[in-house]
């Protein structure tokens, strides 16, 4: 399992960094928020990302991708986290393409992955039904009717739910609400009859929707994986997503840390730089240590995806827990160490603080992942 990026991956990271710093800086996010944009990203920037081949990075070459793997995708997401550059990349590539790669038939992979790689198809993962991440809690029902299924129920907080072309919907085809068995994954056009979206405004100014399914017809041909057996694919897809999200969070944490250290070297009180106060120095040093540990966990987890390691669930829970705790620590400290100005909208700190909060609760907070990590260790 390699933990140092190779030259190809470093070049990809540098390309992403340069592109995003120049074309999608935090000021772009601010503009989108100020204009009340409902998508939370710029189509023009996404088009350019497609031209640079970003959606294709983690898709295998045999399906029209570039085959850089997830260390490549993670590098892009980390850079995006640094400037809070939002795009369909996370929902479509990190989650959507993963589900199709893991569970799709050869035919589905040929058509869908190629469309994602070419930037023609965007996806959203419609799974959660409560205000906490619960991978095996599914009550939205899919009942067989001839060759097809009929979906009824509601999904909450679906990222890009109101704008993606297609939805990946987890549905109950058998058993009780919390059973791992009996879940089936459907690919549904967002414009299908009976699908209605209500957008939620969230603090990170990105797009989330609650989606109602009212007698929505889904064809059996659009099932991803096996009927009743989607949980394995779903949880593995979530692991890919947890790790990719952790990579984005790492980028945000790194930026907030760098900005805070810069401020400590600049701001003066009591006739000296505030960075000369040991009370602040030691806290900054601890943040640095946490950040480095988090980077190792994230890179290790991305490598675990690329290696198809048996350790993937452990690595995913490790990476997400570390990213949750470190991003929170650093954004909280960023506000505190900036003093009053840290609370002003004029500074970008608040954007990171808010994005951090939403990220923590996406795909599992630290309580969830610490418990999962413990269970995976048999304790």
């Amino acid at each position: 399992m390699p933990l140092a990026l190779n030259e190809e991956q470093r070049m990809l990271r540098d390309t992403a960094r340069e592109f995003l710093q120049n074309n999608a800086p935090v000021s772009l996010m601010r503009e989108l928020r100020d204009s009340g944009d409902s998508k939370g990203y710029s189509d023009a920037v996404w088009q350019q990302m497609i031209e640079l081949g970003f959606p294709a990075v983690a898709i295998p070459e045999s399906y029209g991708g570039l085959g850089f793997g997830y260390l490549g995708a993670g590098a892009i997401l980390e850079e995006a986290g640094k400037t809070l550059a939002h795009s369909p990349f996370y929902s479509t590539v990190a989650l959507g393409a993963a589900a199709i790669t893991l569970g799709g038939t050869e035919e589905q992979k040929q058509s869908l992955l190629a469309a994602i790689a070419a930037g023609e198809l965007t996806l959203a993962m419609a799974h959660e039904e409560s205000n906490h991440h619960q991978p095996n809690t599914v009550s939205l029902s899919a009942s067989a009717s001839g060759d097809n299924y009929v979906l009824n129920g509601k999904k909450l907080f679906v990222a890009e739910g109101a704008i993606a072309h297609k939805l990946l919907v987890s549905a109950r085809t058998q058993g009780n609400n919390n059973d791992q068995d009996g879940i089936t994954l459907f690919l549904v056009d967002r414009n299908s009859e009976g699908v209605s979206c209500q957008t939620s405004t969230m603090i990170d100014s990105r797009n989330y929707a609650d989606i109602e399914f009212n007698n929505v017809k889904a064809s059996a041909a659009n099932i991803i994986g096996t009927v009743n057996q989607a949980f394995t694919i779903l949880d593995k897809t979530f692991d890919y997503g947890r790790i990719c999200l952790a990579a984005e969070m790492l980028g945000g944490a790194q930026t907030m840390f760098d900005k805070t250290v810069e401020y400590l070297k600049d701001r003066e009180q009591f006739g000296q730089k505030i960075g000369s106060f040991q009370a602040l120095q030691h806290r900054a040093a601890k943040m640095f240590a946490e950040l480095e540990l988090t980077r190792s966990a994230v890179v290790g987890a991305l490598a675990a995806i690329d290696d198809d390691s048996d350790n993937l669930p452990i690595m995913a829970s490790l990476a997400k827990t570390r990213a949750n705790d470190t991003y929170r620590l650093i954004t909280d400290e960023a506000v505190q160490m900036h003093g009053g100005i840290g609370l002003t909208d004029e500074m970008d700190i608040g954007f990171y603080l808010k994005r951090c909060r939403v990220s923590i609760h996406s795909l599992g907070d630290s309580g969830f992942h610490t418990d999962r990590y413990a269970t995976l260790h048999g304790i």
């Binding site: 390699p2 933990l3 140092a4 990026l5 190779n6 470093r10 250290v261 400590l264 070297k265 000296q272 730089k273 960075g275 000369s276 040991q278 120095q281 030691h282 900054a284 040093a285 601890k286 640095f288 240590a289 480095e292 540990l293 988090t294 980077r295 190792s296 966990a297 890179v299 290790g300 490790l318 827990t321 570390r322 610490t370 418990d371 990590y373 413990a374 269970t375 260790h377 048999g378 304790i379």
Partner: protein
């Protein structure tokens, strides 16, 4: 097969053929081999194992062969360590000579000094101790006062060193002395080597909270040290001292790798000593959480050490990161020892080997003795100062 794979295979085969079976069993703390004039071995196999490794020149695998080493590359050295760990081989010999003085001499010693001292370390003939701290100079090491008077071709030393680990068992000492009282305190220090049998050297063991006393006060009374035994330039010993501290801290960051492999994992302790549910999971939710958090931290630290090594090889390592390891590793180790003792409950406070197993007694012992890890070699607070100033470039007052 690549050259490294070939090397791995040959190493594995050699270890299997040469490491006695008893040297592949978990080691008790008291069974460590340190060599020296008064070397002691827990049994014949330990001596045989050391002798074979000395002959193979793998006691100091990465030192050049003229200095008694094996001349292995960094990758090969790592492979040897990995294969030894995989087979559960005990360290044939350990000590300050290998961890600290050797690397510092390689960097700063004269050719004569290297040829004289390094082979004796590698062969286990001379055991070293460290004379840095003094009663008035701990964290503020550079304020040391032990005086060295210039007498032309030699110095005469007078003063006291404290906390000299194994000062009563070592043969030679590397010692910081003051050769100039004027100017900046760092600029009047010299780094000297001398035999502990030199007239005027005396040691007094100091009992610790563990009941043992392998720490000594060391008294220097008109001790004569030839100038040929100064490492680096006179008055510039601080550079040597700091370089050596980096090696000491690296060793302490990897303390578990450098110590006998434990018989049980933290999970074993949880399962053996805590109340469990019927499915074998831990009843106490807080303890389960504490253990999971420890496992995650431990895994993150190991990944970070591995990443640092790989990035070092790839030439992309950010040197600032090296400042964090002593702090994070030793803090985690002491937290873990405390957690394991808590898992054992009353047994974790047991203090004899009749009522308690040797392992239980050792855990209690380690909870106390490993508190030294966050103090010695630069305390955690001093390390945080280092991270913030060297690592992050934060300003001085």
């Amino acid at each position: 097969m690549s050259t490294l794979d070939q090397f791995r295979k040959e190493t594995h085969d050699w270890l299997v053929a040469n490491c006695p079976a008893s040297m592949r069993t978990p080691q008790k703390r008291s069974e460590g081999v340190y060599g020296g004039r008064r070397a002691s071995f827990p049994n014949d196999d330990a001596k045989l194992w050391m002798d074979r490794m000395v002959e193979k020149r793998w006691t100091a695998p990465d030192w050049a062969s003229e200095y008694g080493g094996g001349g292995l590359s960094a990758e090969e050295t790592k492979i040897l360590a990995q294969e030894m760990e995989a087979l559960g081989c005990r360290k044939p010999i350990v000590g300050h000579g290998f961890w600290m003085l050797g690397p510092a001499l390689l960097e700063y010693g004269t050719e004569e000094q290297k040829l004289e001292h390094l082979p004796k370390i590698a062969r286990g003939e001379i055991r070293w101790c460290q004379g840095y701290s003094e009663p008035g100079a701990g964290s503020d090491l550079a304020s040391l006062r032990c005086k060295a008077e210039d007498k032309g071709d030699h110095f005469v030393l007078n003063g006291q060193k404290s906390w000299t680990s194994d000062g009563d068992k070592a043969d030679w000492i590397f010692c910081l002395v003051r050769t100039n009282d004027e100017g900046k305190k760092q600029e009047g220090i010299s780094f000297v080597l001398f035999d502990m049998e030199t007239p005027g050297v005396s040691v007094r063991p100091v009992p610790l909270i563990t009941g043992e006393s392998h720490f000594c006060d060391t008294f220097l009374d008109n001790v004569v040290v030839p100038k040929s035994q100064v490492v680096g330039e006179i008055n510039k010993g601080w550079s040597v001292a700091k370089a050596l501290l980096v090696h000491e801290r690296t060793m302490m960051s990897q303390i578990e790798r450098n110590m006998p492999k434990p018989k049980f994992s933290t999970i074993d302790y949880a399962k053996n000593y805590l109340p469990l549910n019927d499915d074998g999971t831990i009843k106490d939710a807080l303890m389960r959480n504490r253990l999971a958090n420890h496992l995650m931290r431990d895994q993150s630290i190991k990944l970070s050490q591995q990443r640092a090594f790989e990035e070092g090889m790839a030439g992309t390592f950010d040197m600032r990161v090296s400042t964090i390891f002593k702090y994070i590793s030793t803090e985690e180790k002491t937290a873990k020892d405390s957690m394991v003792a808590d898992m054992m409950g009353m047994t974790g406070a047991g203090w004899d080997t009749d009522r308690f197993t040797f392992d239980e007694y050792t855990k209690t012992y380690e909870w106390m003795s490993n508190k030294a890890l966050t103090i010695a070699g630069g305390s955690s607070e001093v390390q945080l100062n280092l991270v913030s100033k060297r690592g992050l470039g934060l300003p001085e007052k």
